[in-house]
Amino acid sequence: MTICYDALALKARWVRRETLRMHLLAPETRVASSLSAVEIFTALYYGGLLAHSGADPRWEGRDRLIASKGHGSISLFPILADRGYFNPAELERICQAGSFLGGIPDTIIPGYETINGSLGHGIGVACGMALGLKRKGSRSHVFVVAGDGEFCEGSMWEGVMFAAHHRLDNLTVIIDNNRLCMLDRCEKVMTVEPFDRRLEAFGWEATRVDGHDLPALHRALHALKGRGASGRPAVLVADTVKGKGVPELEQDTLCHLRTLTPAEIANAIGGAL
């Protein structure tokens, strides 16, 4: 696959700025965990990795993407609008009466497959989808974007076991490994790492990359999606920084619920971004 990584990087930069703008319009959105996933979503939607159709969100031939860490997927809003799922003017109405763009997205938003507000559901539902797609003879792939803290939920591991047992090689989980829960660093709250070794022990194929290094991320996802009949589900551990691009967030272990001031947002957009 030929891909212009410079163009992809420009797109990621635009997504990050738009995500901050969404937060400016709707301060109740979880901006820090949405910023750590910017490159992941950008690679999927602009890197030719995800078969999809904005004009026909439920197109049968699409790849399925479950935003298991739904609260941290505000960065998908501008992407979905840009890819034709809905009118970009909708972005201006985020979290307002009559809008379908809520602080935590769900299936009323074109492009979302599942209800995402509650953590720990993504892998299990993805297992059912992946199994169903195989039975239909479909070549579609199922992607899950999950948070690292989400793996404290036992239901995630029920899904992990099921996927390996049923050899779901059409399922790829991307962990946005920003290493922060709501109250502290995951390693202090509950040890979830090492994801790669843990999931390999469960029968998964595992790869680890810098989740902000677009070429590395893209190459890894491309390889995992094209892995063929390996008989194994796969995980990509994407090491990320919560609040990436905004120093105030990057340096704050309590950034999960932090609301940026308009000045902080303006600084971030006008500065390094």
Binding site: T114, H121, V125, C127, G128, L131, G132, E158, G159
Partner: protein, 323 residues
């Protein structure tokens, strides 16, 4: 008594479902490591569409939801308290909430309603399910009383899109309904005995007890209510309108959202003048051991207790008439 008369409801249901699976390859059957004699045939005939997810009720519901989003009709089978309460949040999010936006055709089958696992204690008793499942928007709730209603639920659940919960008794119960064609699942209830003044509205196992009470006290009417949601409430109001006393009978906690709450709502909204008397388990768990009748006796819901209640109501009615 024919074979079907003593078959468990779940075997009646699974047997009929197995027949449908032969001609409809969109049907999956998922179990959380729970068997049944009829399931042996299903597992044998459809090994690619029977999946045992292991002792993992949360994943049972999540995998079912994912398959349903891909267009399959999914049956999920586990012990009643675990499929409803261990997995309640999965049921809420991925079945009840999700189905409001996308079609989700999942039928949950809970085995062992009430205290039908009588010596297994509070973890295996299921006295909350009717109330908590009825509470969920978009969820249908069925509590069949016999194998005839159970078998009819197969085609009904296949053709009614949306999440559904069926409570099956853990024990084999004889048929109560002679004519399957008289069972109207959309109406939700059917008469078992005609009468006047007093009507027993019962569900599941308690419909068998209600019929025994009516046989002991001729003139007491019995309605078997097998669909708690949806239920044709206007028809139910019409059916209950002639009675002075309505006794609800459920093997469930009372006064908190189950059958009695449904009947109370119907009486209130249709301004029925009848007095309501709930029979069921009061606000405590059952640690006692014994036969089902003994457990019911301890909770004021065995034959003798219901007959005594009916006698009090008859006396009351007679005194009112005399006055």
């Amino acid at each position: 008594m024919s074979n079907s008369a003593v078959m468990t409801m779940r075997d009646s249901f699974i047997g009929t479902l197995c027949d449908r699976m032969a001609s409809d390859d969109s049907i999956f059957f998922l179990a959380a490591d729970l068997g049944a004699p009829a399931l042996d045939r299903l597992r044998d005939q459809f090994p690619d569409r029977f999946i045992n997810v292991g002792i993992a009720e949360q994943n049972l519901i999540n995998v079912a939801a994912g398959l349903a989003l891909e267009g399959f009709s999914v049956y999920s089978y586990a012990i009643a308290p675990f499929i409803t309460m261990r997995a309640y949040e999965q049921v809420r999010v991925n079945l009840a909430v999700s189905s409001q936006i996308r079609p989700v055709n999942v039928t949950m089958i809970g085995l062992g309603g009430g205290v039908s696992y009588q010596v297994s204690g509070p973890t295996h008793h299921c006295l909350e399910d009717l109330a908590i499942m009825r509470l969920l928007p978009n969820m249908s709730v069925y509590s069949p009383s016999d194998p005839v209603v159970a078998a009819k639920l197969v085609d009904h659940t296949l053709t009614t899109v949306g999440p559904k919960y069926i409570r099956f008794d853990g024990k084999a119960l004889p048929a109560l309904h002679a004519d399957p064609s008289a069972i109207d699942l959309k109406r939700g209830f059917a008469p078992l005995a005609q009468g006047s003044d007093i009507c027993l509205v019962s569900t599941g196992f308690m419909s068998h007890r209600a019929l025994k009470v009516a046989q002991a006290r001729p003139g007491v009417a019995v309605l078997d209510l097998f669909s708690l949601k949806p239920c044709d409430e206007a028809a139910l109001a019409q059916a209950l309108a002639p009675y002075r006393h309505v006794v609800t009978m459920e093997e469930a906690f009372i006064n908190n959202g189950g059958l009695d709450s449904l009947v109370t709502k119907v009486a209130r909204e249709h301004t029925l003048s009848c007095a309501l008397h709930p029979v069921g388990v009061s606000d405590r768990y059952v640690f006692d051991l014994g036969s089902r009748d003994q457990l019911h006796a301890l909770n004021g819901m065995d034959d003798a207790a219901v007959v005594a209640l009916v006698d009090r109501l008859i006396n009351l009615t007679d005194r009112l008439r005399a006055a």
